[in-house]
């Protein structure tokens, strides 16, 4: 009969310990894990910003280069795809021979 209050006290202390130490521990453990995994670090963010900016600028430059090439020779893409068959001779030759023949 005398051990019962002691048992209750131990149980209460145990439950309180779990409630106020174990549970916050568990929560903070997962919070820190989640924080370290899910979010970008400051450096990552800067790097991503820089890469995105760089990609945009390179894209713009490629567009202007392609525009210049198209103005120079409208079918340059075909030449690039298959330089041996199509391209300058195939599309330019008939008109040239005709011009020479005339």
């Amino acid at each position: 009969m005398e051990t019962q209050p002691l048992f209750v006290v131990v149980m209460v202390i145990g439950i309180l310990g779990i409630l106020f130490i174990g549970l916050p521990w568990l929560i903070f453990h997962y919070v820190t894990r989640w924080k370290s995994q899910a979010t970008l670090t400051n450096e990552d963010e800067k790097l991503l910003d820089e890469l995105h900016d760089l990609a945009r600028r390179l894209d713009d430059r490629m567009c202007s280069i392609e525009r210049i090439m198209s103005a120079d020779n409208p079918n340059w893409r075909q030449v690039a795809c298959d330089p041996a068959e199509t391209g300058l001779e195939a599309l330019g030759a008939p008109s040239q021979t005709r011009r020479i023949g005339q």
């Binding site: 970008l40 400051n42 990552d44 090439m69 030449v79």
Partner: protein
């Protein structure tokens, strides 16, 4: 601690009262009117004051958006909304853009080198 794009800020300039709804719209990319309607509906239909309390807590805790984080273009805003939603997907997008540029540059290179070779051959034939 420098300013970051991936934090939640209140957007007071576009906001009605504390800028929480506008901040959520800015953070997620969802239209601000829809979020306001959602807030009002949740307040009216939910009955409890949880939504209002949440609004006030967010308005009290979240900092106002710093001026230097204002987006220069809609494209930039969309980019950062994508980063906040899924960083991994944004990284893949940027990589695919680089690959696209690489492919286009390779086309230009092939054309330039092959047409140079062609020109050299034609000059040789003329001799």
């Amino acid at each position: 601690m420098s300013v970051r794009h991936t934090k939640f800020y209140r957007d007071k300039r576009n906001g009605k009262w504390m800028g929480v709804c506008a901040g959520i719209a800015d953070y997620t990319g969802v239209d601000v009117t829809l979020i306001r309607i959602g807030f009002v509906l949740a307040t009216v239909l939910g009955g409890s004051g949880i939504v209002v309390v949440a609004y006030l807590v967010a308005g009290w805790m979240a900092p106002v958006k710093p001026r230097e984080l204002a987006y220069q273009s809609a494209e930039e805003a969309k980019f950062w909304q994508g980063v906040r939603a899924s960083p991994a997907r944004t990284v893949r997008d940027v990589r695919s853009r680089f690959r696209d540029i690489d492919r286009r540059l390779a086309d230009v290179e092939t054309y330039v080198t092959s047409s140079n070779g062609r020109l050299a051959r034609e000059i040789e034939q003329l001799r």
